[in-house]
Amino acid sequence: MEIRKLTCISCPMGCPLTVEMEGNEVISVTGNTCKRGDIYARKEVTNPTRIVTSTVKVIGGAADMVSVKTREDIPKDKIFDCVKSLKGVEVKAPVHIGDVILPNAGGTGIDIVATKNVEEV
């Protein structure tokens, strides 16, 4: 049996959570003071994911950089693969919110999309 310790992020309480696991199976969640803590803990130990945000260089735009994000959550352990895949990436203006900047970032199957409009100048 494995014990995982987490801090709940659902509210400022920050309850210290203890999760008992058997393989990939959650046996119990303790330390939470509300239901949200239980839900958070189960997700975080079985399938932790994050949205990753960054910026890439823009050529010929009204700004030097355009902000980007993964269109959806990606597995937490793929964060750095995803960030590294953006190294050296440049896009030509214009760029608009939602435009795909890099498909299948870091082998996650998730696209990186622009989160800002940068017009051509």
Partner: protein
């Protein structure tokens, strides 16, 4: 001289939401004056996600959240000027502004909405001893360099202050290849959101040292390292606890200050606790027809509440211009923040002017667990709300209704306090 019904100072989230709301409440003649080259304010450099959960029921990044409001403002054909600095505003609402194209010019306003936002506290405000080399940045300046210009402020970073910008920058610098060694926080608790501590520090193994501060900065040309020390309950460094960290960068995330130089120049009455104007239930300052909202009024932690507050200011400014503002019959009821409650916004209310509902926002001065938020109409307790936790980093609110207030025609003081269980 050009004249507008409403001139809004600042085109960030507060200014945009105020403009949109004023327009929807029937005012056509609106002008936003923005000092930067684009609308959106500080959101443009806040590229992380987590904005908009309350307003749009989805998680947006800062630029996306800003764009939603920019799109609304453009759809409503609200006029704005970019790269324009407001130099001062006279008490009679003559706005003096300047830009490259028009030079120095004046605009007459029937109503003014102050939405200038805030600035970061600097090293000087903390009197951190040591050298003054390159490599000391406020977290927001570093954020601008990395996110807007693609420039790395440093490779090895120590962060002082666990405000949200500092936490966000810890993760951001890590993503760009820097090593963030430690985050030090003077207080025994973090000023940032729990979620940011977990997702910006814990996820990357960055230690957070509570009750610690920087006591020395080494390096004559570029930062070479900083010394941290533990502090006692009064915030004084404890001798013998010093620990040296090699680094080339010190980021400061040590608080935000509403940027009220223009308000001061006009003679607006200020609240020394918030460093923002004193406002009534209409978010109107001590000068009639001058309203304030967003971080210039008091520093917020969630932009959603900025937008909500700004919409209220915009609606009230519109009513003022239309002459619909219910006359100031009745009397001013005063808010009294005590026992752990540091301030309230607004500071007064008048039932003759108020809407059916009023949101009163406040902050507490320390962390309280299992406590109650108590609201007293004079000596009678009317609200006694259980809270598992309240913390200085998270703004609190209470809702009052006109119906409820009208039952107390002689009410003078509304006391808001934290009551321990």
């Amino acid at each position: 001289m050009k004249s507008y019904d409403i001139v809004i100072i600042g085109g960030g989230p507060a200014g945009l939401a105020a403009a949109v709301s004023a327009k929807r409440n029937g005012i056509d003649s609106i002008l936003i004056l923005e000092r930067d080259k684009e609308l959106g304010g500080i959101l443009n450099q806040c590229i992380h996600n987590g904005f908009g959960l309350h307003t749009f029921k989805e998680e947006l990044t800062g630029p996306e959240y800003a764009q939603r409001f920019i799109d609304q403002a453009k759809e409503l054909e609200i006029e704005y000027k970019l790269n324009t600095m407001v130099m001062d505003i006279s008490p009679r609402k003559i706005v003096t502004a300047m830009n490259r194209q028009e030079g120095l010019f004046e605009i007459e306003a029937k109503a003014v909405i102050l939405a200038m936002g805030c600035r970061e506290r600097s090293r000087g405000a903390l009197n951190i001893p040591g050298y003054r080399p390159a490599g000391i940045f406020s977290a927001g300046t570093a954020q601008r360099l990395v996110n807007m210009e693609g420039l790395m402020p440093g490779r090895e970073v120590v962060i002082l202050g666990s405000g949200d910008i500092g936490l966000i920058m810890a993760r951001r610098m890590t993503f760009e290849g820097a090593k963030v060694k430690v985050v030090a926080e003077l207080m025994p608790y973090s000023g940032g959101l729990k979620r940011n501590i977990v997702q910006c520090l814990d996820d990357y193994g960055i230690p957070l040292k509570l009750s610690h501060t920087v006591v020395d900065i080494k390096g004559k040309e570029r930062v070479e390292g900083v010394t941290l020390a533990e502090v006692d309950s009064k915030g004084k460094p404890i001798p013998g606890t010093e620990e040296f960290y090699t680094c080339d960068t010190l980021l400061l995330s040590v608080g935000l200050i509403p940027e009220n130089e223009i308000s001061n120049g006009m003679g607006v009455e200020m609240n020394p606790v918030t460093s923002g104007p004193k406002v009534n239930e209409s978010l109107e300052t001590s000068i009639e027809g001058v309203f304030a909202c967003g971080n210039v009024l008091h520093v917020h932690d969630l932009v959603d509440f900025v937008s909500e507050e700004a919409a209220t200011a915009g609606r009230n400014a519109a009513a003022y211009v239309k002459g619909e503002r219910r006359s100031a019959q009745g009397h001013e009821i005063r808010f009294l923040p005590v026992d752990g409650v540091r301030y309230t916004v607004p500071v007064t209310l008048n039932t003759a002017r108020m809407d059916e509902n009023l949101t009163v926002r406040f902050r507490v001065g320390a962390v309280y667990k299992n406590c109650y938020v108590g609201v007293y109409f004079d000596n009678e307790r009317v609200i006694h709300r259980k809270r598992q936790i309240v913390a200085p980093g998270e703004m609190e609110e209470i809702k009052l209704t006109k119906e409820q207030l009208l039952k107390y025609p002689d009410l003078e003081t509304i006391t808001v306090k934290i009551e321990e269980a």
